[in-house]
Symmetry: C2
Subunit: 453 residues, 2 copies
C-alpha cells in the first residue's frame, strides 16, 4: 500500500504546476486533470472548474455522499507549487520524487501541498474500500493559485457554491506540524493590510550636487514619517491601533502551555541574537495573537549597489500591518491613513503625500472547542501517541475566513508535514511516516466526527 | 571661418565616445586620435596617452611653446559624452550635428565638452596664424572618462606629469554660463563623501508573517538612524560637522550681488513649490557654500512596485555629504562614522551596524582675485559687453583641486555654453554665437594674460 501512495505522489510531483510561471499553465491544467481523474476513480464525482479570473489555473471540485444524517466535510488544499530549479541549490531534480535512503522523499510540493493531497485522496479511497457506511459526506475544493495570492479563488467559489451544498466543517490541509516532534491543529492566522506611502517632490530625479541643502528631499520626509509608525519595542504608534484587539482570556492562555517551543531554536533558525521579547510564550503571542507593523522597503529611491548621487523625485514606502481579532482591516487602513496624514502635516513639507492601500485580508480565529478540533485531537493522540498542539500562525490566509463565511461552517488546519520540510525552500521533503500517518489521521478524524467523539 | 568651426564640431560629434559604454571604446579612441591629429595640424606637439587604469579611455596631451618669459596655461576638457539614443526623446540623431534653423546646433556633446574643445582648438589655431608672438605657452590635457568618474585620471596624470613642465594657470572648460543671459567664471565646487550604512539582522530575508512583531527589523533600525542625520530645515546633525566651515567674508558676500538668479525659475525647473530657504541669495549659498547631507536610497530592501511581505535581513542606507572649505572629507567621514555608531548604540539593537566609505573628493575654492579671473573677466566684458558673474556649483569635480595641487597652479572655470543647453539631457545643443564667442573669449583671455591685464 505504501508503494501506491508514493507512486501517486511521484506522478503528482512530476507536474511543474508553478502558478507564478504562466508558461507552465499547461502543467497546472494537467495536474488538475490528474487529480480529477483519480477522484473519479476512487468513486467521487469530480470536475475541473475554470477560474473566473482570466489566465488563472482551474480549480478541482469533488463530492461523495449526500446523506442528511451525516456531517459534510470540505477539504481544501492547493495543487500549485513554488518555483524550483536545480540551480537554486537542489541536490536532485525538484520535479522527480527522490529517495536518498533516509526516511524522507524529496521534491517540490512534497510538503506543500501535493503530499497532503495524496494523503487525503488515499484516506478517502481506503475508507471507501473499508465499508459501505462512509462516515461523512465529503467535498473537495482544490485550487491552483495559492502560491500566487489565490487569484480568482473567491469569485470562482462564490459562482459555483451550489456544487457543495451544506457544509458542516472545513479541513485546511496547508499547514505543518508545530515542531518536528509535535503534530498540531491550527486555529488561527493574522489578517493584513498593506499600504504604499508616496511622497512626491521634484518633478524628476535630481542631482544631489544641485539640490542638496536647497530643497526638502522627499526621501528624508519619508524616513521621518516612517520612523513614527512603530517604536523600537515593536509597539505600533498609529492612534487607536490597539483599541479592538481582544484581551487574552484564560482559555487562550492555556493553549500556550502545551507547546514545545524553543526560543533558542527559533533565534538560530532566523539568525538573530535577541528578540523583542525574550520570553518564549510572549514571543509566540507576538507572532500569533498580537498585531504588528513591518516596513518592507522603498520604491523609487536608489536601490542598487554602489554609489549614485541622486535625490529621488518620488519615493514610495511599503508598509504592512498584521492584524488580529477583532481588528477590522478596513478600519485599520483608515486609521493608518489618518495618522500618516496628521504626522505628515507636522513635517510642514512642500512635498505631496498620497497613500494607497495595496490590499488587505481578514484574520482567522477558529474555535478549538468545536467538533473538528475534538475529533482531530483524538485522532492525532490515537495514532501518534502524542498530545498535539493547538497552534496559530503569524501569516495570513484570508481565504480561510472567506470559506468560513461562504459555507457558514468552522475551519481547522491539519498539518501533515514537519516545519523542517522546507516548504518553499530547496530540497523540499516529506517524511514517509508523516505521509502515511497523515492519511491514517484523516481516516480517524472522519470516523471520530461520525461517532461524534 | 564659421563654416570650419561647425564642420570640425560636426566631425567630433559623430564619434560615439560614450565612456559608460565599454562597447564604444573604439569610438573613444578614434575621438582622441582625431583631436591629436588636429592639434598636430595647427602646430602643437600632441600625443595619445594610455590610461593607467585598465579598460579606460586614453587621454590626449598637447603642448606649444616653452618660453620662460611667458605664462604657461593648461587647458582641461573631456572628449567623452553621456549616453544618448534617439529613443530617449531626441528629435534628431544625437550623433549627427543638426541645425533646426534656429541659432543653435544640436547633438550629444555640443555643450559638454565637444563644443568647448572645438572653441579652444580654433582659438589656439587662430592665435598661431595671427602672429608669431604667441601670448602664452599652452598645455592641453583632455580626458575620455569624465562622465564615468574620471577613472584613471589621477594616476595617469601623475605618471606623465613631466610632459607638462611648469604650469601657471589651469583653464577648466567644462562648465556653462550662470544663466542664458550672463556669462560666468567659476571659482568653486563642493567636495563630497559618500557612505554606506549597513544594518544586518536575520541571516536571510524573512516572511513578515513569521517575524513581524517578534524581531527587531533591520530596516526599522536604519530608518530610525537615518532620521537622525539631518533636521527638516536641512541642518546636518552630525556632531562637529560645521566646525571647520569657513564663515562668510564680506568679499565673498560681494560675489553674490552681481548674479542674475531667479528663485521662481529655479523652483519651476526643479519642480518644487518651496525651498528650504526662500531667499534667493541664501538659497544660492545653500547650493554653493554651505555643506549638506542627502539620503539617496536603500540597498537590500524591497524596491519594486507592488506588495511583498518581506522583512529584509540586511539593508544598506546610502548617504552623502557635500563639503565646503575648510571641511576635510576624511575628517567628516570619521565624524559621520562616530556619530552613527553612537546613535546606533542608543537604539540598543541586536542587529549589527557597519559603515563603509564609498568614496570622497575635495572641494575646490578658487581665488577670484588672481590673474586668470582678471584676464577672463576683462575678456568677457570686452566681447559680450556684459559683466560676467563669478559663480560656484553645488556639485563636485575633485580633479580640479587635484590638478591645482599636482601642478601647483590656480584654476578657473570658463563656461562656453548656456544652462538651457541640456548638457546631460535630450536635444543637447550649443548656441553658434556661444561657440564663436567662446573661441574669441579664449583668445582675448590669453592675450590679457600675456599683457598682464
Amino acid at each position: 500500500m505504501d508503494d501506491a501512495i508514493i507512486d501517486f505522489l511521484r506522478q503528482l510531483i512530476a507536474f511543474k504546476s508553478v502558478s507564478s510561471d504562466k508558461n507552465q499553465a499547461n502543467e497546472s491544467r494537467k495536474t488538475a486533470e490528474f487529480i480529477q481523474v483519480k477522484l473519479e476513480e476512487i468513486g467521487f464525482h469530480s470536475k475541473i472548474v475554470s477560474n473566473e479570473e482570466k489566465d488563472k489555473n482551474p480549480l478541482v471540485f469533488g463530492k461523495f455522499g449526500d446523506d442528511r444524517n451525516k456531517k459534510t466535510i470540505l477539504f481544501y488544499s492547493h495543487y500549485d507549487v513554488q518555483p524550483a530549479e536545480i540551480e537554486d541549490g537542489w541536490d536532485t531534480d525538484p520535479f522527480v520524487l527522490t529517495s536518498k535512503g533516509d526516511e524522507y522523499v524529496y521534491g517540490r510540493g512534497t510538503d506543500d501541498d501535493k503530499g497532503p493531497i495524496t494523503a487525503t485522496i488515499f484516506a478517502l479511497s481506503e475508507l471507501l474500500q473499508e465499508n459501505n457506511d462512509f462516515p461523512v459526506n465529503v467535498r473537495i475544493l482544490y485550487e491552483g493559485e495559492e502560491e500566487s495570492s489565490s487569484g480568482g479563488f473567491e469569485e470562482t467559489v462564490l459562482k459555483n457554491k451550489d456544487f457543495f451544498g451544506q457544509v458542516d466543517g472545513i479541513m485546511i490541509l496547508d499547514t505543518s506540524w508545530f515542531t518536528d516532534g509535535q503534530p498540531s491543529l491550527d486555529y488561527g492566522f493574522r489578517g493584513i493590510t498593506y499600504l504604499a506611502v508616496e511622497i512626491e517632490g521634484p518633478s524628476s530625479d535630481q542631482h544631489s550636487g544641485m539640490v542638496g541643502g536647497v530643497i526638502r528631499e522627499p526621501l528624508i520626509d519619508l524616513i521621518y514619517l516612517m520612523s513614527r509608525f512603530v517604536d523600537l519595542n515593536g509597539k505600533v504608534l498609529i492612534d487607536r491601533f490597539y483599541d479592538k484587539v481582544n484581551p487574552i482570556t484564560n482559555d487562550e492562555k492555556e493553549l500556550y502551555k502545551n507547546l514545545e517551543f524553543s526560543l533558542q531554536e527559533f533565534k538560530d533558525t532566523v539568525g538573530v541574537s535577541r528578540l523583542l521579547n525574550e520570553n518564549a510564550t510572549e514571543s509566540l503571542m507576538n507572532m500569533w495573537r498580537n498585531p504588528c507593523l513591518s516596513i518592507h522597503g522603498i520604491e523609487g529611491a536608489f536601490s542598487a549597489s554602489g554609489a549614485k548621487t541622486v535625490v529621488p523625485g518620488k519615493v514610495i514606502g511599503k508598509v504592512s500591518m498584521r492584524l488580529v481579532p477583532n481588528q477590522d482591516p478596513e478600519e485599520i487602513t483608515d486609521l493608518f491613513i489618518q495618522f500618516t496624514e496628521k504626522e505628515f502635516e507636522k513635517l510642514d513639507s512642500p512635498n505631496k503625500l498620497s497613500i494607497s492601500p495595496l490590499g488587505s485580508g481578514d484574520w482567522w480565529f477558529g474555535d478549538v472547542n468545536n467538533f473538528l478540533f475534538t475529533a482531530g485531537k483524538a485522532a492525532l493522540e490515537e495514532y501518534w501517541k502524542i498530545s498535539p498542539s493547538f497552534a496559530r500562525s503569524g501569516g495570513s490566509i484570508p481565504i480561510i475566513p472567506f470559506m468560513e463565511k461562504t459555507f457558514n461552517a468552522p475551519a481547522i488546519g491539519v498539518g501533515i508535514g514537519q516545519p523542517s520540510d522546507g516548504a518553499h525552500g530547496q530540497n523540499e521533503r516529506i517524511r514517509i511516516k508523516n505521509l502515511v500517518g497523515g492519511k491514517e489521521v484523516i481516516k480517524l478524524t472522519l470516523k471520530n466526527i461520525s461517532a461524534d467523539v
